[in-house]
């Protein structure tokens, strides 16, 4: 789960990181009031769950209250890479003498929390990684011992050679960032830039925190942070129904169990010249209600001209899926053809259940995909 900059700042501040004050506004008037309270100059920053805000004009320096009103007014409502800006963060503009990048994520290779630190802060770290990878310093954190003092200070000294006071501030920031990462069950935590003012005071200017969805049960406070308005409505619906769903632009609605098989199904739709309308993994241990929800979400998309079920049973029992399709057909007005391919655990029971319906049966994945594309084309 991705959270906004202002929420990430709260997580970091709670772990003792030096985060400048600031508040979010949903109107230009409120932004001006906040700026008045904080004192000028301020930055007005679009709160959207995507990168590249600056280039898109979503981050503005404001020397006057008029600036705040104008820029906040322009930024609120702005579209940045398909995301509508609904909130801006108003925070004091600080004098920046130096900028650094501090980041952490889970490294799949080592299976550990991986620290990245670079003196090339304030720019896109992807660019640094591509152009000058040697300027990014790396460290895996042994979960049994945590990020040790000398490791944190050592990274600080790599970023600020010979400047122990600054290195200590960076080291302390890294240790607090690591504590925040672990406590919050993050999957990514970045400060870019971590800056020093001309007086040598270290500050975390931007905060990007992604949370591990699997660990949300441990953090009853975090679901509150989810920005429901920033989600695609059908993706939100799917998430709330515990379905993994990504909306695409085609006309073949796909209902598959398992992410790998769902991707392979999409690949196959494309292979045969069709266009998938979505990625949808109904997951393991699915129950009939889940299938009903999945069908509703897919049928909400008026582009969908045919629905393709591709179910290979393991944890998911095919009779559950069949049950779900039958219940859904009873509850929803389905006006597009449905192709069903069910194989695996309890597949005979499933076929018996489906035998009396007008669903199009298919035995193989390729057959099912081709039929669905054909039916979608006929319907269109």
């Amino acid at each position: 789960m991705n959270i906004h900059e202002y929420q990430g700042r709260d997580v970091l501040r709670a772990h003792g990181l030096p985060v400048p004050p600031g508040q979010v506004a949903e109107t230009a008037a409120r932004a001006e009031a906040i700026a008045r309270e904080l004192g000028l100059p301020v930055m007005v920053k679009a709160q959207v769950l995507t990168g590249g805000r600056g280039k898109a004009g979503g981050v503005k320096f404001c020397a006057s209250l008029e600036d705040v009103t104008t820029h906040a007014g322009n930024i609120l409502g702005m579209d940045i890479k398909g995301h509508t800006v609904r909130k801006v963060l108003v925070t004091p503009a600080v004098d920046i003498a130096e900028e650094y990048y501090l980041g952490m994520l889970i490294d799949r290779r080592s299976g550990q929390v991986h620290v990245m630190a670079s003196a090339e802060g304030g720019v896109e770290i992807e660019q640094v990684a591509a152009d000058t990878p040697e300027l990014i310093h790396h460290l895996d954190v042994d979960p049994r011992f945590g990020l040790l003092d000398h490791q944190a200070l050592g990274l600080g000294l790599k970023l600020c050679p010979g400047e122990v006071k600054k290195a200590r501030q960076i080291g302390a920031a890294l240790q607090k960032l690591h504590a925040a990462f672990v406590d919050a069950d993050a999957s990514l935590a970045e400060i870019n830039p971590f800056i020093f003012t001309p007086d040598g005071e270290g500050l975390a200017i931007d905060a990007k925190v992604n949370l591990d969805d699997n660990a949300l049960f441990r953090h009853p406070e975090y679901p509150e942070m989810r920005d429901r308005l920033a989600e695609d409505p059908s993706e939100r619906q799917a998430r709330e129904a515990d379905l993994s769903f990504v909306k695409l632009s085609g006309n073949v609605g796909c209902l598959v169990n398992g992410a790998g098989l769902a991707m392979a199904t999409m690949d196959l739709v494309k292979h045969y010249g069709g266009e998938p309308a979505n990625f949808l993994d109904i997951g393991g241990s699915s129950n009939p209600e889940k299938v009903v929800n999945a069908l509703r979400i897919i049928l909400d998309d008026s582009e969908v001209k045919a629905i393709l079920f591709n179910i290979f049973g393991g944890i998911t029992r095919c009779d559950d899926v069949a049950q779900g399709i039958i219940q859904a057909a009873e509850q929803i007005d389905i006006d597009v053809p449905i192709v069903v391919r069910l194989t695996g655990t309890n597949e005979e029971e499933a076929r018996e259940l489906l035998a009396r319906t007008d669903l199009v049966a298919a035995t193989t994945m390729d057959e099912a995909v081709q039929k669905a594309i054909e039916l979608a084309g006929t319907a269109a």
Binding site: I106, I125, P143, V246, A259, A264, M266, G284, D366
Partner: protein, 291 residues
């Protein structure tokens, strides 16, 4: 022959009395797996399916039944705890089926396993099925057949799809292994490839990959150097929209790889054909075996 299991594999199931645990334990029993014990705290003393004793702790189950392998079906908040318990009790192989385990729980448990030399498969995986020897997990028994093809996959149901096609084509399997697609897993693609390469019962290999990470690339390089048997691969996610599954930072530390195109390139460079469709796997394998 098979990898990771043999005739001495004695299985216990943690969470045997739960919905999924009992359903799939029955499946394992039906397949002939030596399922010798179940564990559910508070249900010690019960008997599962009239034949499998249930214990309160893994330690009790191991000392009473000589179990050396555990399959875990407990809910996500307790999954890593179940892994610690199994490892501490002296189990040698743990298969964790549970989906939705917090990543940092896995980060913490991995060194515990490494220190004890315990192999973990999963979490969030279908487990392992060695036809004729043992079924550890949820792979449908109906789709496998004994034979000499080794199969390793990061997916669940996509694995079944491919196994089913192998079996339908008369190509039996030595072991079908689903390692799971979570960020931190016990047995990696590489571990599986190494084990298959050392298994005299395996004469061909099918790799089922997915976008994300660089497990396929690493395995490809290893295979080119060390593996002589025919190898065929398949990568799911060629048409997946970018950025929906992986943060940019993940791409940074894997050196920019992770797309299906990257993986295909790496595999083909290592002389491993990549099937465009799942149905192309069998013909490609026959072609390689003929060569």
């Amino acid at each position: 022959m098979a990898i990771f299991v043999n005739q001495d594999t004695r299985v216990l199931v943690q969470g045997i009395t739960g919905r999924d645990g009992s359903f799939h334990s029955k499946g394992m029993l039906d397949y002939g797996t030596k399922l010798v014990a179940g564990v559910t705290p508070g249900k010690g003393g019960q008997t599962f399916e009239g034949q499998v004793p249930v214990f309160d702790t893994v330690a009790d189950a191991v000392s009473e039944t000589g179990a050396n392998t555990s399959v875990i079906f407990v809910p996500p908040p307790f999954a890593s705890g179940a892994i610690y318990e199994a490892a501490d009790a002296g189990v040698e192989l743990i298969v964790c089926i549970t989906e939705g385990v917090p990543t940092l729980d896995m980060v913490k448990v991995m060194p515990y396993l490494r220190e004890r030399g315990v192999r973990l498969i999963g979490p969030n995986c279908p487990g392992l099925l060695a036809p004729g020897i043992a079924k550890l997990g949820i792979m449908p028994a109906s789709i496998v057949a004994p034979g000499k093809v080794g199969l390793v996959s990061r997916s669940g149901t996509l694995t079944y799809e491919v196994v089913w096609q192998l079996t339908s084509a008369g190509l039996g399997q030595s072991t079908c292994l689903g390692i799971g697609g979570d960020p931190v897993i016990g047995t990696t693609f590489m571990d599986a490839v190494e084990a298959f390469a050392a298994d005299p019962g395996t004469e061909a290999l099918v790799l089922i990959g997915e976008i994300g990470g660089d497990a396929e690339e690493t395995a490809a390089a290893y295979i080119q150097e060390h593996v002589d048997m025919p190898v065929v691969s398949f990568i799911a996610g060629r048409t997946a929209p970018p950025g929906k599954r992986m943060g940019h930072a993940g791409a940074i530390i894997t050196g920019g790889s992770g797309t299906a195109a990257d993986k295909t390139k790496a595999l083909e460079a290592a002389g491993i054909p990549v099937a465009p469709r799942a149905v192309d796997i069998v013909p490609l394998l026959r072609e390689r075996q003929g060569a």
